[in-house]
Symmetry: C2
Subunit: 699 residues, 2 copies
């Protein structure tokens, strides 16, 4: 036992044991407690302000006594850790991993079973996990429930989405904790694939703000061989409790000692920007395990995709959801198929002309004529193109133009089919020079009874990334469980969707203007998102006068998203012909980088606005994105992130004076100014607007 | 509508429609009926004797009206079919497929949904299936129950095993139908992996005998994309009803029109031999789909296997069920590991010396130290040998001796793991010159909640066979669902276990002497079994004086099993050193063939005795096997199956006069006589005994 320091400063009720831990900057304090009946508990304070009041820790097990009470402390170990590391791709060249750690070795006296509680206290928050070490009385076990509590101290304002087992593609709700009620939500929201939900269960990460101005975020990191954690909210007491997504027969997790749960995290700060700049989630994941990372490159891409969303083309060659179309072996073309060789060449030409790295083609393979909604196991084989898509010719043409092709693997949720075909699918990709795959899981999961967020599916998503690494393939997963920092360990996990992306604006009530100001505080904490920004033709009436749908931003805000959204994989999602109409605005998308040496969170308020500046990897160039919610916003930013003494040409892409996300979304203006690190810039963001700036050094 | 012939000869209650069908020999009559409420029904008679009285047909569907009543007949079609075909491997060179067919097109008036009932009446029995044709009102659907009835007319004697979802490895019970009661069975029977059962649910095939001497067998054929059918028995009325094995969430089958269920079969004869000679089940399967079958060869083999069952060696290198043995990366050898390079070479030498085609090695790969009983997903990777098994050296040595190696893939029931690794496993096999695999599924199935006999698992077992065909690999599946004739379609499906094999005699209450006289009337109807006969050291006290277990036959009966059990894959299961002690008896195993031009069922009575003669493929040589149950038996057989005019040297391996399965099992005698097709031979079978004869032409 080393450095055992016992404090008893937090709790006044009867306790059996208590030990304190402080963050490196001494602002955060965590107290670990064993209650009188042997229940492990913790509390968290920022300065003198309680963040989490006394909350239980524990795991319930199937067919045996729970690991919830009757514990005593055998040993404790305190550590300080401080290390810098360099991500392969990222927001920063170097990331600091600095925390004070506490490991509590618990023993359940009646059963002689051991649990180790691991705590890490960073300046920006607390992380803890359960470890079941190797021991004679506990080898294989089934977690039937995790009973981790996060007992909040007040009726905070919260940004939340419902605890759906199958989808995170919801717009965020901003309510008091007491007003969380999933049953009152309008579910006519364009989500085709919803799973079970209950009244007051929400997903993590949940972002909160207290009346006193504290920002609190509850999330998890390093979800490996474990289900996703949702949160059951007590709307009277403001207590939250972990809810693990079950499997087909109601079990949560099958484990064998030694085993560790994911990290549970509570980030807290009185400065919202610290939530965004925190690298806690990444730090809590294991280091990179891929030895040769030379093939892992950032990527800007275009693709045959948005034209299907706006109704110009179809994924299917032969008539959606009409299986009979294929029963006689003859596919009857719709005439609108997007993924033709000819159209692909058009995108390759466009990518080559404008300097994009890759071209995605969706709908290239047989299966789309009857792919969705019927829990069908064998939908796609991932190797058979439609008759009008010539894989060999596309390969030849793309290589001649120096453009990489991105493969699309929609699974329709049939994971059993995908896993049994995965090696063949990856072989096919490599033979045809595809080095990146976009996966899709739109549908009820097969094996039937499993959910997108269960342990089996978490393992599947991670397995695909691991197996892809064996083939040197980058993975961009859509409809997967939301990421929790695994891209540190597998940097080929270049991006994922796992939230409500830009596509919803094309055919549903869409994403409200505040949406992109909330995502960085929630979904993005876990990893890069393939949000697919860059829509210039904002209103769908452009394609069909009867359509009311639109993107809920200005055009300038679409540009700003390339900076406010961190992702080493970014799509220029609109159609080539739309970009060619606005070459001056398009220039920003051509110029913007997607991999960075540094990031500065200039301004941030969840649900209201975000301004971020980023320095291009290995260059002196900076980019800045500023976005607003449904309100117009004036701000003045200091450019002190720029290198002192250097002069920069700043090209500012901003909302025109009369711009408005709904009334006049395409009105933008471009101006250039010369600036230094001492300059200030005034920005006027329209309602639902934004500004994007490139800073190119002049000396 | 062609050849519509309506009879109304069977039923006197009010019916809406009736149509008759006769077998080619006119002995069997089937009547199809639509009852007053539109329920499809059928009856079956042999001559004037009722076999199945009026029984309902129908499917219940999930979330929609069932396909059970409200039907009328739109059209009927009668056909006569007669075709000969040649199996790649088999009991006969040529198989006749001769039946009268009836197709009834039904329409459910209220829903406008169509069902086609297909009937085939062979001389030896009835087969029928449901077809859901392509139609606008029924595309995707979920079968929640099949309500096919088999209403028997009396309290027949039955041979049955309990309707376990996970195992068929039971000894047969012989009772009246009224006495079926699973709850009364002694379940201390050595079966490690049992699934759900209920009181009066039994498995098909069930073999019955009526008081009047009729033999009736209820089974199914061509189970593809459908669960296995068990039977719920009404012990008062002697009605049986189909029970389909469910999936994890209680559904039975996910189908899309056009879809066909497996065939339901009722075989009936007043001669038990006709049940055994029937090729109905094979005929009901689709023809061979493998174009090049040159690589599909019969196989006699030895292997490192029985020595583990008798306790001489271990599968695992490092201590069974002790995962901790591997957590530090260092395996600590048990010292008893069977699958060493050295021991494998000993078996290769033995195989080469005695003319065996192959050598099986179990326990060659990492995972066995912690493989069973914990629903563990990642147990084996199928490509990593133990340190003492040199794959390269074994390959070299086997090739130098002209012996084929048989790979072993135990999955522990973790099908998800096996499917995702299958291509790698088969690649590894081919690289190392393995052209046959023995698969194993000892364990609760993963995906968790699935059962061995559910639709998903049926699909898995069939998928492995199909994928193996792509690699030109023969499959011998153990712990799979029992076969239903798919080896016609995929002749590389060379054998399976799916019943209580010889191994149970080594470490459990074993297989009673009657066991092998029942299997041909039940399990073998679906396909070849890898029963692993040929045990010479009958009593386990040979290995350990404290052991009471023994094989429940004489040594001579072990020889006879090579003929009474049809399988193109046969093991000589005992240890080389045991065979070398009895070289004269071993000669029969060396001589006996495993692929045949002709088969004669000489005598047969389920549960009592069986005598079968078979003519070797492409040769004039015949082999005969005769076995008895627990009773001694004298019989005289006429050799009229031999070619007229030819002289043969018959070598007769028989029980010695004082032989007895329990008291004196190893007492055998060998004699030779010259015989012709006019000769008769007297055989004296001991209690639990048998006789094996080879007939070699002398001219």
């Amino acid at each position: 036992m080393n450095k055992l320091i016992v404090f008893m400063i937090f709790s006044t009720s009867s306790i059996a044991f208590s030990q304190n831990l402080q963050s490196p900057d001494k602002q955060l304090k965590m107290n670990f407690i064993i209650s009188e009946n042997g229940t492990p508990q913790y509390e968290l304070l920022l300065g003198s302000e309680a963040v989490i009041k006394k909350s239980n820790l524990g795991l319930e097990l199937k067919n045996e006594q729970g690991l919830t009470s009757g514990f005593s402390v055998r040993n404790t170990t305190q550590t300080t850790f401080n290390e810098n590391w360099n991500p392969v791709l990222g927001e920063y060249k170097t990331i600091e991993n600095h925390y004070n750690g506490l490991m509590i070795e618990l023993i359940q006296n009646a059963t002689n079973r051991k649990v180790h509680m691991h705590f890490k206290l960073y300046n920006e928050g607390l992380a803890f996990r359960y470890e079941i070490p190797t021991q004679s009385n506990l080898n294989y076990f089934v977690v039937s429930d995790e009973v981790t509590q996060f007992n909040l101290v007040g009726n905070h304002n919260a940004f939340w989405i419902p605890g759906d087992y199958d989808s995170q593609e919801y717009a965020y709700n901003e309510t008091k904790l007491s007003d969380i009620d999933i049953l009152k939500l309008d579910m006519n929201n364009g989500i085709g694939m919803k799973g079970p939900m209950t009244k007051t269960r929400i997903q993590s990460p949940v972002m909160m703000k207290t009346n006193s101005g504290l920002y609190i975020n509850i999330f998890e990191a390093a979800v490996v061989n474990f289900p996703i954690m949702h949160l059951d909210v007590n709307t009277d007491t403001f207590a939250m409790q972990s809810h693990l997504v079950p499997n087909a027969i109601g079990d949560k997790a099958y484990l064998q000692a030694p085993a560790k749960t994911p990290w549970r995290t509570v980030m807290v700060s009185n400065d919202a920007r610290k939530i965004l700049s925190s690298q806690m989630i990444l730090n809590l994941n294991e280091p990179n395990v891929i030895e040769d990372t030379s093939w892992i490159k950032p990527m800007k891409y275009v693709g045959i995709w948005w034209e299907m969303h706006v109704g110009k083309a179809t994924w299917d060659y032969a008539g959606s959801q009409n299986a009979q179309n294929t029963t006689d072996g003859s596919l009857k073309p719709t005439g609108k198929h997007g993924a033709t060789t000819e159209n692909t060449k058009r995108y390759i030409d466009f990518a080559a002309k404008h300097g994009f790295d890759g071209v995605l083609v969706e709908g290239w393979n047989v299966g789309w004529e009857d792919w969705f909604g019927n829990w069908k196991e064998e939908v796609f084989d991932f190797v058979t193109p439609y008759p009008d898509f010539d894989v060999e010719e596309v390969k030849r043409y793309a290589q001649s133009k120096g453009v990489q092709m991105i493969m699309h693997h929609e699974t329709s949720g049939s994971v059993s089919n995908y896993e049994r075909r995965l090696d063949r699918a990856f072989d096919f990709m490599k033979k045809n020079a595809y080095n990146a795959v976009k996966t899709g899981y739109v549908g009820k999961i097969i094996p039937r009874g499993e959910w997108h967020d269960g342990q089996s599916m978490v393992n599947h998503f991670n397995y695909v990334v691991q197996r892809a690494a064996d083939y040197k393939i980058l993975v961009n997963s859509h409809e997967s469980s939301r990421p929790t920092g695994l891209h540190r360990t597998y940097p080929n996990y270049i991006a994922s969707e796992a939230a409500r992306g830009n596509e919803f604006n094309a055919w549903s009530n869409g994403n409200p203007p505040a949406h992109e100001t909330i995502l960085p505080f929630t979904r993005f904490l876990g990893g890069p998102m393939d949000y697919t920004p860059g829509i210039f033709e904002i209103k769908m009436s452009h394609y069909d006068p009867t359509k009311k749908e639109q993107v809920h931003t200005t055009l300038a805000k679409q540009l700003a998203l390339y900076v406010t959204i961190y992702s080493p994989l970014q799509m220029a999602a609109d159609l080539p012909e739309n970009y060619e109409k606005y070459p001056d605005a398009f220039q920003f998308i051509k110029d913007v980088e997607v991999d960075w040496d540094d990031t500065k969170i200039v301004e941030a308020e969840p649900g209201d606005y975000i301004t971020i500046a980023r320095k291009a990897k290995g260059k002196e160039t900076w980019f800045l994105g500023a976005i607003s919610d449904e309100n117009a916003r004036k701000t003045e930013i200091t450019l002190d992130f720029l290198s002192p003494g250097k002069k920069y040409k700043a090209t500012i892409y901003e909302d025109a004076k009369d711009a408005h996300w709904e009334k006049n979304p395409k009105a933008y203006a471009i101006r250039t100014v010369e600036v230094t690190s001492k300059s200030k810039l005034k920005l006027n963001l329209a309602a639902g607007g934004g500004a994007a700036i490139s800073f190119v050094p002049l000396n």
